[in-house]
């Protein structure tokens, strides 16, 4: 696939290119989609911070319930990120193309690149969520 594309480089009117354009032209992709995983991290982070403040400073919720609830939320966030990451991985399609870099100005490369970026962002977001979850496991008291 990539080798074929390379030979066509700079000749956008080739039939192969037209097929690609047709394949992806209808897709109105949004840059925002690659931020879904980090946004999940952000929401999870704000939820943890806000809830712990309510528990420890305001004293609204008993801490054990807070911890249990937030650990559950951490699991949920991780599941969501896994789903986002899996969809991005499928979009990247590296197992079929073997292409890790997507350096060409075709619709298909752009499509796969956004999948790749989304996939990597899902990994870093998952790490972020796990890190954020650790204090909930380790620390049993507010002070």
């Amino acid at each position: 696939m990539t080798a074929e594309n390379d030979t066509e480089h700079g000749q956008p009117a080739e039939p192969e290119k037209d097929r690609e354009l047709a394949e992806f032209a209808e897709e109105r992709e949004s840059l925002l989609r690659i931020t879904f995983a980090p946004l999940t991290w952000a929401l999870h982070f704000v939820l943890c911070y806000g809830t712990v403040s309510l528990a420890c400073i305001k004293g609204l919720i008993p801490l054990p319930y807070t911890r249990a609830g937030l650990i559950a939320a951490t699991g949920l966030a991780l599941a969501l990120i896994a789903l986002i990451g899996w969809r991005a991985f499928v979009q990247w399609d590296v197992r079929r193309t073997g292409d890790f870099t997507n350096p060409e100005g075709h619709a298909e490369h752009r499509h796969q690149f956004l999948g790749h970026a989304g996939f990597l962002l899902a990994i870093i977001s998952a790490i972020g969520v796990i890190y954020t979850g650790l204090p909930l496991f380790i620390l049993a008291s507010c002070k």
Partner: protein
């Protein structure tokens, strides 16, 4: 073609072949035609001569002024650092007084952050980004110029205060109660002067985001745009979410300073911690706002040096976006010693450790590129290498102090001073100087001296380590920050002396660098066009210089067009590509789609004008005069600033074009007008409002923060806002929003009279709504307790925005009456409706918080 009450629908689709075929590109352009095109372009893009030079708005002029001004402020802040170092060289020194010392370190930090580091990013991006994207200019040149003049006026005002012994003296993060109770105008100068500059920063962020989303050359899809553009988008987005909390904080702070509303005064229910939160929600992303654009410069230099494409493009995009997000989860690591719950500290400690991962990834990507490339080390690379070494050292101490217990030990000691200088020098100063050496041939068409550059590098690199490496030890030995003198015999003496010597070696290095920048270079032979052998579009620049930006806007299909397409340069020069001409004598650039950069529109861009300078002068007066408690003239200046901006918009933006479409070359015909999401103005409004909404959210956060942190919020038996009035305000403001939306629909469908009526009634309802909102809190006394104070602050915020919304509605009404706004040319109305979407949302939130929340929150806890 369909018809809307007599107004034909204008076809604004793209016509003609796209993308261009090889045959089309191979067809030569006749020589006479080329020369005629060049003549016309040269004339259109000419820089004004003589005194009128200062009216220039082109990115090449504004960018140079901007960088030079920021650099001058940096040198001044550097001199302050030298005085600080001399004062601390020996124990019990009495060179400067304690108060003067406080002013010096406050201004050193504030100036380096607000007058150098952030503006420098904007300045460099304004200067370079159009080159990277082969755009003729940024989409809103006058906005750049306005931002620059605001920056200059605000910067001179803030930094000048030190000469009058009136500078702020409470540290660059201005903690209350020290800063709220500080005597003299220092704190006000900081608050108003820097708020003014923050507004300019947000303007620049809007410009840069829209520039990198909509002004890319045809074919430059998101997967092949220069990494610099990715970084600019990320950093612009970060500015939008980081600066507004500080502006909201400044707003509350200034209300406390001038009206005695007790937001940060614990005796009347306030809480100084709110300031710390708002400041650091800004302050920590700020560090990455400074770091990322500088590392973006490295991402442009490293492939050239390695003479191969960057390794791990997607990984670098990941690290830029990932860092952008994670950096918002770090702010409390500046507040580890404030007594927050341990679990909360854990969250921020964890996030601080996780941000290391994306930061590390990009450094490894650079190293990988260098390892697999055929490296030819040049002077810019030397600076990059030095910067990465220093930054990595700073990052390692960062990993240490992100661990809360370690931070408890070294908090507010010289260990922190060493850490932050390692990250900022390595992460910002060195890469920026590398960028100056690398891009100087692009900017000035002459080269800097290799020999002087090496001298400057080794002096600054050595001096830096001599100055700051010992500070780690000084800090571990317990020396606190910000003390103006220390007694003998604590083991700090010789360490401080070494640091001072190092500081002067840095200064010597900067002296060499400044001499190299400023020395006359007229005798230099003409430089090669692509002196470093780069592969990105900025090296299609013209030598000797031309003002048109790019001769014709190429169609690109790879990340390094100059390497991959050997005919590109010749075709750009021949005017073979897009927009090679300006037949109507207008400044124009190409607008493309966000994801795939397909050509969409020819955008007329504005030219030289005094109006941006006048607007900046009046805006400046409006911010600066209140520092000296001169309120009425300030209000007058504010009105004049608004008048200037309206004049500027009315005369030159979104007017119905003379022709509805233009031939842009290669058989392609594009519309000359766009409204709604297709237009750059709509995107600018969207992005601005996102920032504005963040500011509003920060004020609302304040409300809930007080409720969480304070037992007496709302205090028992407190008077609340009047519920009936609040309900009336909500209904009136929402009706005004609905009428604005209705006006847009009516106007679009050709029912102009109906649209005008809606636009006439909407501002009346809006004003009534604002009045009702104000009436709901009139009986409260905001200086008695923080609860009425925050309610009143919310009313002021929403009221001021309603005022802006009313001006916008009336502007559209006037436009409709004057024929500027028609069913086919309704960009203004689209943008105003977008503003009102946000306005309606904030009105709803405000009314809910003021009217409903107290009822729920007062329930027995």
């Amino acid at each position: 073609m369909s018809d809307r009450n007599g107004y034909p629908v204008i076809d604004r689709s793209r016509r003609g072949p796209y993308p261009p075929t090889e045959e089309m590109l191979a067809e030569p352009v006749p020589q006479e035609e080329q020369e005629a095109q060049q003549r016309r372009l040269r004339e259109v893009w000419a820089t004004p001569k003589g005194f009128r030079y200062w009216t220039a708005v082109n990115n090449t002029e504004v960018g140079v002024w901007y960088t030079m001004t920021a650099f001058a402020f940096m040198l001044m802040a550097g001199v302050m650092a030298l005085i600080i170092r001399v004062q601390l060289a020996v124990p019990e020194n009495d060179l400067v007084s304690a108060d003067r010392f406080n002013q010096l370190f406050t201004m050193h930090g504030s100036a380096m952050m607000f007058l150098f580091a952030v503006p420098m990013f904007e300045a460099i991006s304004i200067l370079l980004l159009p080159g990277f994207l082969s755009a003729r200019d940024m989409p809103f040149p006058r906005l750049s110029a306005f931002g620059y003049w605001c920056f200059l006026i605000g910067g001179v005002f803030v930094i000048g205060s030190i000469f009058f012994d009136a500078a702020p003296n409470s540290g660059w993060f201005m903690y209350p109660p020290l800063a709220t109770q500080a005597e003299g105008p220092g704190s006000d100068i900081w608050l108003l002067g820097l708020s003014f500059i923050e507004v300019a920063s947000i303007a620049a962020a809007v410009e840069l985001i829209v520039g990198s989303l909509k002004c890319r050359p045809p074919g430059m899809r998101v997967n092949i745009m220069p990494l610099y553009a990715w970084y600019v988008m990320v950093v612009g987005g970060m500015i939008l979410f980081a600066f507004p909390p500080l502006i909201a904080g400044d707003f509350l702070f200034e209300l406390e300073r001038s009206l005695d509303w007790p937001f940060f005064d614990p005796e009347r229910g306030g809480d100084p911690m709110l300031w710390q939160h708002l400041f650091w929600i800004f302050g920590h992303p700020e560090v990455y706002i400074i770091f990322l654009p500088s590392i973006a410069i490295a991402s442009m230099i490293v492939p050239t040096v390695a003479r191969r494409p960057i390794v791990g493009y997607s990984w670098i995009v990941l690290s830029a976006v990932g860092t952008g997000f994670l950096s918002f989860g770090l702010w409390v690591h500046h507040m580890f010693t404030t007594g927050l719950p341990n679990i909360s500290l854990g969250f921020f400690s964890a996030a601080s450790e996780s941000v290391v991962i994306p930061t590390g990834i990009q450094i490894f990507a650079f190293l990988a590129t260098l390892m697999v490339g055929r490296v030819k080390v040049n002077l810019p690379m030397l600076w990059i290498a030095g910067g990465l070494a220093i930054f990595t050292a700073g990052g390692l101490t960062g990993v240490m102090i992100a661990v809360a217990p370690f931070d408890f030990q070294v908090h507010d000691t010289y260990f922190i001073v060493a850490h932050l200088h390692y990250t900022l020098f390595g992460g910002m100063v060195f890469p920026v100087i590398a960028g100056v050496y690398y891009f100087f041939p692009f900017i000035r068409k002459v080269q800097l001296s290799e020999r002087l550059g090496r001298w400057a590098f080794w002096l600054i690199f050595a001096g830096f380590n001599i100055c700051f490496l010992p500070m780690h030890l000084t800090g571990l030995k317990g020396m606190p920050r910000r003390i103006y003198a220390y007694p003998e015999g604590l083991g700090w003496d010789w360490l401080n002396m070494i640091s001072t010597v190092g500081a002067f070696i840095i200064a010597a290095g900067f002296a060499v660098f400044v001499w190299d920048l400023l020395r006359p270079k007229g005798h230099q032979p003409q430089i090669p066009r692509n002196p470093w052998g780069g592969g990105t579009l900025e090296w299609t620049h013209d030598v000797p210089a031309e003002n048109w930006g790019v001769r014709s806007i190429p169609h690109v299909h790879s990340r390094y067009p100059l390497w991959d397409d050997p005919k590109l340069l010749e075709r750009v020069d021949a005017g073979r590509y897009y927009l090679p001409d300006s037949k109507q004598g207008q400044r124009e650039t190409l607008i493309t789609s966000v994801i795939d950069a397909e050509p969409m529109q020819v955008q007329k861009v504005t030219g030289p004008s005094w109006i941006s300078i006048w607007a900046a002068i009046f805006t400046g007066a409006c911010f600066i005069l209140p520092t000296f408690h001169i309120y009425w003239p300030a209000a007058g200046a504010g009105a004049l600033a608004v008048a200037c901006i309206i004049w500027w918009l009315w005369r030159d933006t979104a007017r119905p074009p003379e022709v509805e479409r233009k031939d842009v070359g290669l058989g392609l015909s594009l519309p000359t007008y766009a409204s709604g999401p297709a237009s750059v103005g709509w995107w600018a409004m969207w992005i601005t409002m996102l920032g504005d909404a963040t500011g509003f959210a920060s004020v609302i956060f304040g409300f809930f923060f007080y409720w969480t942190a304070r037992p007496d919020f709302p205090p028992e038996g407190a008077a609340h806002a009047d519920g009936l009035m609040i309900a009336a305000a909500a209904i009136l403001l929402l009706s005004s929003w609905a009428l604005t939306l209705g006006a847009r629909r009516l106007n679009w469908s050709g029912r102009i009279a109906g649209a005008r009526i809606a636009l006439g009634v909407a501002p009346v309802l809006a004003l009534l709504g604002a009045a009702a909102l104000a009436a709901s809190v009139l009986h409260l006394s905001p200086s008695s307790h923080v609860y009425p104070a925050i309610l009143c602050a919310v009313v002021i915020w929403v009221g001021a925005h309603t005022g802006v919304g009313v001006v916008m509605q009336l502007y559209c009404l006037a436009g409709s009456l004057a024929g500027k706004l028609t069913p086919n040319h309704d960009a203004d109305l689209h943008n105003v409706t977008l503003f009102w979407h946000f306005q309606a949302l904030s009105a709803l939130v405000a009314c809910a918080v003021m009217g409903l929340a107290p009822l729920l929150l007062e329930a027995p806890a």
